[in-house]
Point group: C2
Chain length 343, copies 2
Amino acid sequence: MNLKQLSHMLGLSQTTVSRALNGYPEVNHETRERVLKAVRETGYRPNKAAQRLATGKAGSIGLVMPTSPGNSSDVHFSEFLTGLGEEALRHDFHFVLTPADPNDEVGALRRLAASGNVDALFVNYMRGHDPRLDMLKSLSMPFLVHGRSIGSEPDYPFLDIDNEAAFYDATKLLLQLGHRRFALLNGPIYFDFAIRRKNGMDAALAERGLTLDEACVSHTPMTDEQGLLAMERILQMEKDKRPTAVLCSSTVLALGAVRAINQAKLRLGEDISMIAHDDVLTLLKPENFTVPLTTTRSSLRAAGVRIAERLIGEIKHTETFPAQELWKAELIVRASTGVAPAD
Amino acid sequence: MNLKQLSHMLGLSQTTVSRALNGYPEVNHETRERVLKAVRETGYRPNKAAQRLATGKAGSIGLVMPTSPGNSSDVHFSEFLTGLGEEALRHDFHFVLTPADPNDEVGALRRLAASGNVDALFVNYMRGHDPRLDMLKSLSMPFLVHGRSIGSEPDYPFLDIDNEAAFYDATKLLLQLGHRRFALLNGPIYFDFAIRRKNGMDAALAERGLTLDEACVSHTPMTDEQGLLAMERILQMEKDKRPTAVLCSSTVLALGAVRAINQAKLRLGEDISMIAHDDVLTLLKPENFTVPLTTTRSSLRAAGVRIAERLIGEIKHTETFPAQELWKAELIVRASTGVAPAD
DNA sequence: CCATTTCCTCAAAGCGCTTTGGCTACGTCT
DNA sequence: AGACGTAGCCAAAGCGCTTTGAGGAAATGG
């Protein structure tokens, strides 16, 4: 069933039917009702591809899904996707997901844009001096960045959390509790958030004239296994050199790290204090750890909702948004942070 | 840059350029090279919407993403999605994700199909007597089901794991270890896999003249919190009535259940034995549990790869596949299963 | 040397929709 | 009465691609 058949059935022109469906004013109320009734009865649905071709609007937003054989599925990504979906549902939008090898994200993005299948693009997992920014700016298509790219002009629309502040505050708290030796289990060094979190930590330490021992810093994929390995390595240090406070870039890393601490028969919140960043993953609640975890919290899912809201608003030209948003993470103190042990 | 401009630039007709690009034989080798060169230089990309309209093929497969406010993001879903993506990448396919309220999956599916945006459909989270099957069969579009639907004629293409056999085998193992009182932490009762797993368990017990006490069965969403709650309830039973063996439908449920067991100061693999079904989630490895978990294992991700392979093959008409596949889950014994404690 | 085949190319139709630019009929204003 | 507005409808063009059916040129055969 297509427009032609439908309009013929109704004894109307395609124009009128189309207008009736799209809410144009120059259609008699009665005629419109007739059309809507026929649509309900026949189950007619406009062909999106044709609509897309005619209007240039596709009602969909494109995103590149980082994936490749051997690359693990990322809980952070799907948590975020859920947020996006939640909002998109309200506007009858959908996503076009292009899976892409992480080494060819620029290419995947270009293909997606050129395909004419999407109205707007979205990128995340930003890196320092990210090459995708130039590509996005050269396109004449709305886009939104989740995160930022240190080293690039901040002249693009983004939504980010204040990673520096979050880790600055967390470090500050631990300093107040008397800790002097710190470790950091961070995400891969090329990611913007990892750089900023380390910067925030460095800044807080510097205020007290302290520096972070590079041996106590790890940059790894954010899996529990890597957390375990990194923590084990740190725990092998001599007791009086060993850090008493650990910051983790994700509760997933913390999961592994806590396991290492348990295996070493150390007590979390007493022998070692820990603060992790919490993306509010459904699967991994910091309050459910055996020793509930102190965290800097900011919901990835909420970010997804907001990003969908902004992108869809932009496509529909219904609203204008601040181009750049920086969310504060909350510092939530639980039992994993305690006074530094006496040496 | 579109076909018209490109062909004009080359002094060729649109037909010839189009044929050169799509690998038709009746194009001079030299001409084809010229065309390809021009494409590289100009960065020309065919407009997918137009291609779609002309051919009826979209190069994308549609799936409904179960999501709604308050509905938690599902690790199982994203693990699966990763598999799909991995395979789709190889064929330059992408997905169209329609987020949908779980109560309106049939509607979402219909809209997706009618939109003309997809070549094939995929559904999962099958329920007993699933209403989506009739809808799918009425569409003239390839589709593939992940899972099955008990109570419906098995005349549709599916990929499933043998849930009955998995839980039958698991139960059998525990029986051999001397266990007589069992519990089951299952997924929601309306899901096909949940029904079948329970059936498998019932069958094994029946062979020994045992039955499953309904008070020891829970049907809940598969989150760690629900696992914790369900296990806590079970542990409140009198010691000589209390189950000594627990089956979990997911390692996520097991995560919570193990926490409950720890909190009750019971020893896993000694006081209580446990077997969980393992979808091979990246985030949650059964071997990383404090007491490594015995599992029935079948990779969701591998299922994703296979499903994408089949759907894409069908769209391209390159291959024919067996319509129905039933995978065996492996039973992997680790430390969480031990001999039943003496009463 | 003409007829036939083969190779390459083209013009034009069509996919299903939106949108431009009328056109008609009727009421209103001067 | 004529000029003008307006409400309601329509025919046709156009979005960018693929594909059908045809045609011209070169190569082959009798």
